[in-house]
Amino acid sequence: MLKRRIIPCLDIRDGRTVKGINFVSIRDAGDPVELAKIYAEQGADELVFLDITATIEKRKTLADLVERIALEINIPFTVGGGIHTLDDVSVLLGAGADKITINSAAVRDPGLIGGIARNFGSQCVVVAIDTKYHQNDWIVFIDGGRTPTRLRTLDWAKRAADLGAGEILLTSMNNDGTKSGFAIDITGDVSRHLGIPVIASGGAGTMEHFRDVFYSTGCSAALAASIFHYGEISIPDLKNYLKNNNIAVRI
């Protein structure tokens, strides 16, 4: 049986791991490569590395870091932040990333999704969507959550899938950093209407939150950052808990 995936996310700034609380305050939580190795050994199913400053500062790639990570870990990983062109993608995949994730760049230039899919395969294109419940609808935000768009989340997710996205990483800004649980409604909606895997993100605070999002939605994976980085929940404990709750996970 295909397992539901647990994905620690490492937000990167200046080569170090950070986690934005509601995208504002930032604390330092260590060396990305060391953390990545620990997570892989503990049973993380994949890892995501996001350069959270990249879009704003127009910084290019994390190629050096990606190379170091690729040498060390034996599970798949995704890299995002500041990817605007096929060349950016080519550099990161060449450095050893399995997938790349694009967010604002895909909204500004939807053709980028298809371009990456045609050149490197759909399997490596993760379209990240930051969504916020805003004026009675789930709306797509870009630029690290700073800029609202006129896109409805479900419409954009469907379009991204049609354009060639291999996966959707859906972050609820209302939930992110709150530790009050994942956004079940929009995650369920997007998962139900898409034929590609959806990764739930934003709001994980307890093991029950993971159980609930897997029980209540068709999401393929759940992503979290700070609760793992600060050791509030260990991955082996989480997976055993989910298994005991009849959720298929890799132990």
């Binding site: 049986m1 397992k3 049973g43 690729a70 034996n74 599970i75 450095a95 050893g96 399997q123 034929g195």
Partner: protein, 192 residues
Amino acid sequence: MIAIIKYNAGNIRSVLNSLRRLGYDGLITDDRSEILAAEKVIFPGVGEAGTAMKYLKDRELDRLIISLKQPVLGICLGQQLLCRHSEEGDTDCLGIFDSRVCMFPLVDTVPHMGWNNFLSVRGPLFKDVSPDDDVYYVHSYYAEVCSSTTAVCDYILPFSAAMQKDNFFSTQFHPEKSAGTGEKILLNFLKL
């Protein structure tokens, strides 16, 4: 020396990294004499079947691969290209395994992406591997179960997770991305 066949498909670097973590060295090459001289050959790949086959044919690597006598391991697209035909781009493939490659029916999430266990495993690649062990997959096309199938995975339908005929071995999953279980399977190949 382990030769890793260089062609226009992703994921090749990961295979080399994985060999190095296991204490082996590899050479990414499309040079005929280097491939022929290698103790073992790995034929990796993520990408589109039609474009990959065209690339191999243009360089006559297609005939070279099927002529190899040392152990060969096809991974992911590598396994699919070792089959007879792929629906992806209606592509005639290398024909080592008498199996067709088809697209998954869209009755569940496609691609099949993530960790899955086996319905059954047999053969030298799976020494000390249990059907309950999980390995990592990313694919939208699958090879039908045939007489060369050595491991079966069930997603939407049972398909060939691994195959073997004579010196040709293959896996649909990515052993180089499958944590400890993947390393066990790669080592089983490297120690053949």
